[in-house]
């Protein structure tokens, strides 16, 4: 499964998308994101499965993305 990785430089910052990892489940996704992206001294880090990301719109494709 692909997980998207997000992090923040400092408290109060917007969460920033910093990359992705493949992992067989949540637990290893967290470990792998940590091992792959932790060198930049982030304040916090999050992962979420990519298949839970749903596109709402994209100006080139339309103001609302329905079924894809």
């Amino acid at each position: 499964m692909v997980y998207e990785v997000f992090a923040r430089k400092a408290r109060g910052d917007r969460l920033q998308h910093i990359g992705s990892v493949s992992a067989p489940g949540d637990e290893l996704a967290k470990v792998y994101a940590h091992a792959t992206y932790d060198e930049e001294k982030w304040f916090d880090m999050w992962v979420a499965p990519r298949d839970r990301f749903l596109e709402v719109f994209n100006v080139d494709r339309g103001v609302f993305v329905g079924e894809r």
Binding site: I18, G19, S20, V21, A35, T36, E39, R61
Partner: protein
């Protein structure tokens, strides 16, 4: 399906347009970026076994920490490239675990054995400098947004690797004796190898898709010059010989040996005396790959198939 045709896309990227998704790529663009990312991923990936060969025998606990940190970075960078490729429908599984070793697209330099600490640090000073030169250009110029963002991390870390190499070259130069002599021997084979890495000279290169699609900004010769501007100076200030110098009249770096030329991989020696060869001969050598090609690729695959079988059949 790309909302653009090829000419529109080329025009748009020339004006600074960034693609954000593989859906926006034309077939030509997709092909060009897949090639670029495959070379990038393979180079980072195969640098890991090459560096590990030297790292596992590094002189001390502290030096082992540093080179394993470098290996960790390289693997993470490889993974970043392969993950971007997966988004374009290229299977990482196939790329990493199923290709013939000779099909990997990393430079010939990483098919060589790194046999002592001098070769490790010169690899950091030269090979990682080449990687940094190439990737900084991609970072500044690429029209693919996800790659541009990923390269922030990659650039920072590659910069550390080459600084590690340069720092150690300085220390070993001061140390003198056998340590210094081994650095010079490493430079003797690794300098021409990295010069060659940048590929065909501009006057022989056919037109470049990667430039048209704005996947990079500089030509092979421009990149080669940029690399030499750092490495020739690095050698000079530490009292090492490098077979190139800066021509004061033109400001360009000039090689002091026939280019391209033949290489004796077993002896780790360039056969300058045999004169210039053709680029076809170089391509043949690259295609045949270097002495460590299979071992390096196999080392990455040691347990993948057996563990997948064991766990996968659940």
């Amino acid at each position: 399906m790309s909302p653009f045709n090829d000419d529109e896309l080329k025009q748009k990227v020339r004006e600074g347009f960034l693609l954000e998704s593989p859906d926006e790529m034309t077939e030509g663009y997709r092909k060009a970026i897949v090639t670029q990312l495959t070379v990038q991923g393979d180079t980072e990936l195969i640098s890991a076994p090459a560096y590990w060969m030297a790292a596992r025998d590094a002189p001390s606990n502290n030096t082992q920490v540093t080179v394993v940190a470098i290996i960790q970075d390289e693997l993470a960078h490889a993974n970043i490239a392969y993950r971007l490729l997966e988004d374009m429908g290229v299977s990482r599984e196939k790329l990493v675990y199923e290709r013939e070793p000779a099909q990997f697209k990393h430079p010939y330099g990483f098919d060589q054995p790194l046999e002592n600490w001098a070769e490790m640090v010169v690899a950091n000073g030269f090979f990682d400098r080449a990687g940094y030169t190439l990737l900084s250009d991609v970072f500044s110029n690429t029209s693919y947004g996800p790659l541009k963002r990923a390269l922030v991390k990659v650039d920072l870390e590659e910069n550390f690797h080459l600084r590690h190499g340069e720092n150690w070259m300085r220390r070993l130069s001061k140390a003198g004796g056998e340590a210094r002599a081994k650095v010079q021997r490493a430079i003797d084979w690794m300098f021409p190898m990295t010069v060659e890495w940048f590929g065909l000279p501009d006057d022989r290169k056919r037109h470049s898709d990667q430039l048209d699609y704005r996947l990079k900004g500089l030509t092979n010769d421009q990149l080669r010059q940029e690399w030499m501007s750092h490495t020739v100076a690095l050698c000079k200030r530490n009292g090492f010989r490098a077979p190139a110098h800066r021509d004061d009249a033109t400001g360009r770096y000039v090689l002091e040996y026939p280019f391209p030329c033949r290489y004796d991989a077993a002896a780790k020696r360039w056969l300058f005396d045999e004169g210039e060869i053709t680029w076809d001969e170089v391509f043949d050598r690259w295609k045949a790959r270097g002495p460590m090609n299979e071992r390096y690729v196999e080392s990455i695959r040691r347990s993948h198939a057996s563990v997948s079988r064991l766990l996968g059949a659940a």
